[in-house]
């Protein structure tokens, strides 16, 4: 199996000093890869560097065999990298419909602007709550619906790889289940996924691979199932997992 995404010796940061200190990882074609790690370990920084919001200081980012590290964020989008940010991931002063229209008009490389439905049948089935809210301002949606909208926008153009930063953060348990279910179904449609998650147990259940980050480096890359089984790893890296979930995960592993 070939890789859609390869990250090689990546360095990046905000001011003086690097936050990412040589990150190495790969995402195999058609797989779901979950990144976990304690707060401040550089997960969001990694994702922002992948999408081009933060400059690559050293190393390389290879998407489908081509280096994208010198491309601007819009160019990376059109090269096939879709991104759902952690927060502020919809245009709040625009309607749901306008959010989707923008995604159609600007995310595809010349292919866009199609005067079709705002959501394909496939996407409508995935996000059934959206069509009834087209006229609503995105800022007035519930947290879960907002996440669904951001998700749908990122998928208006079928990406090579979908990058998500903590898609389940702050969501009610119902939406959390829905989000992971959506990720799974999107993956089954053939989209490779790289996601950062704090709700590690749920995320790893639908993942193929797991990457553990600490201090701006990859500490461990392994099969998701194997990580789910490691009790000591949970205590070390899944620090944010609620106590109540620990026994359930032991059963799963």
């Amino acid at each position: 199996m070939s890789n859609v995404l390869e990250v090689q010796g990546l360095h990046a940061g905000y001011g003086a000093g690097d936050i990412l200190k040589g990150v190495e990882l790969t995402v195999a074609e058609g797989s779901v890869v979950t990144i976990i790690g304690p707060n401040g370990s550089g997960k969001s920084t990694l994702v922002k560097t992948l999408t081009g919001l933060l400059r690559t200081r050293q190393g390389d980012i290879v998407l489908k065999g081509k280096s994208v590290k010198d491309l601007s964020p819009p160019e990376r989008v059109r090269a096939g990298m879709s991104y759902v940010p952690q927060e502020y991931n919809v245009f709040r002063n625009l309607t749901v419909l306008e959010n989707l229209q923008i995604a159609h008009e600007f995310m595809s490389a010349g292919r866009g602007g199609k005067r079709g439905k705002p959501l394909s049948d496939e996407m409508e089935a995935l996000f059934p709550e959206l069509p009834s809210r087209y006229k609503a301002l995105a800022g007035n949606l519930s947290g879960g619906q907002r996440q669904m909208l951001a998700f749908a926008c990122a998928l208006t153009v079928k990406p090579e790889v979908l990058v998500m930063d903590e898609p389940s953060a702050g969501l009610s348990p119902k939406y959390m289940t829905d989000i992971f279910d959506c990720v799974k179904r999107v993956n089954e449609m053939g989209v490779s996924v790289l996601m950062v998650e704090q709700n590690a147990i749920e995320a790893l259940r639908i993942s193929h691979r797991c990457i553990v980050m600490a201090n701006g480096r990859v500490r461990l890359a392994s099969d998701a199932a194997a990580v789910l089984g490691m009790r000591e790893l949970q205590s070390l890296y899944l620090g944010d997992v609620k106590e109540a979930e620990a026994p359930a995960s032991a059963a799963a592993g």
Partner: protein
């Protein structure tokens, strides 16, 4: 009373175009551009040159000046503001003050301090329901209304307009939705230039064309944009009407000389009680 209300309405609607320019520029570029007054002045003089000096009718003069002014704004941005973009909004604001000073004095250099006017025939005022109005006021109302409707269409129905609102809403999300910010910034300047040019001609038609004509509207225009909520196009429209009417009505109770204080009071009150303005949303800070 009705007369004052009408006058206020006309004053307000004259300010809708520059107020919209202010709010669009602020939304996309995140700084208060104080050069807009002088930009209107320069546009009015350019229209004066075509209209009074070359003998063109005012309408084609205005159209040509609007397009030229839009392009000039793009050029001015590249030369003046673009190199400072990473320095923060205070630097950009100060730069705009300097730019306004330079532009106003370029106008003064060519045309001196004396007041000029367009070569248009002066029509006699007429009365409707006991309200005195004149042809220039009618033109102002019609042109501003048409321009506002066109802007509404542009901002809500075209990809560029939606993208402008998207960039104003959340610049980094706009980037990862594939929107080239450079292109949107150029469009914003062009549209602002067109609005300012038309606004400058309307003011020049209503009053005289003289170097401080644009900057004399600066405070009222900013009050309108702030009252409506900086960054909100609909707010700018409503804000301009409100400021125009309130300032004019205030002259019924206070001496007209103090009229200029009204917009300042509005700015102060808005900033104290509703910092996000009438239609604005609380600002996201990251």
């Amino acid at each position: 009373m009705l007369q004052t209300l009408f006058n206020g309405f006309v004053t307000g609607i004259t300010m809708t175009l520059p107020a919209l320019a202010v709010t669009l520029l602020f939304g996309v570029l995140k700084f208060a551009n104080f050069a807009i007054g002088a930009m209107m002045t320069v546009a009015a003089y350019m229209a004066f040159a075509l209209n009074a000096q070359l003998g063109w009718p005012l309408l084609p003069s205005t159209i040509v000046v609007a397009i030229v002014c839009g392009l000039l704004c793009i050029a001015v941005d590249v030369v003046t503001f673009k190199p400072l973009r990473d320095r923060g909004s205070i630097t950009l604001m100060v730069a705009s003050l300097g730019l306004g000073f330079v532009l106003e004095n370029i106008a003064r250099l060519f045309y001196g301090n004396s007041a000029r006017s367009f070569a248009i025939e002066i029509a006699r005022p007429f009365r409707v329901m006991d309200i005195r109005m004149n042809k220039e006021q009618m033109i102002t109302i019609v042109v501003s209304t048409v321009a506002m409707l066109a802007m509404y269409f542009l901002l809500t129905r075209t990809p560029v307009g939606r993208a402008m609102r998207a960039v104003a809403d959340n610049p980094s999300l706009a980037l990862v939705r594939g929107i080239e910010s450079g292109r949107i910034i150029r469009w914003t300047w062009f549209i602002a230039g067109v609005l300012l040019a038309v606004g400058g001609v309307l003011i020049g038609m209503d009053r005289a064309i003289e170097p401080p004509m644009g900057s004399s509207y600066l405070i009222a225009v900013f009050a309108a944009a702030i009252f409506g909520g900086l960054g909100s196009p609909l707010g700018a429209f409503l804000g301009a009407l409100a400021i125009g009417i309130v300032s004019e009505m205030a002259t019924l109770v206070i001496p007209p000389n103090y009229r200029i204080g009204i917009p300042l009071c509005v700015i102060a009150l808005v900033l104290i009680f509703r910092p996000q303005g009438l239609m604005g949303q609380a600002h996201i800070r990251r």
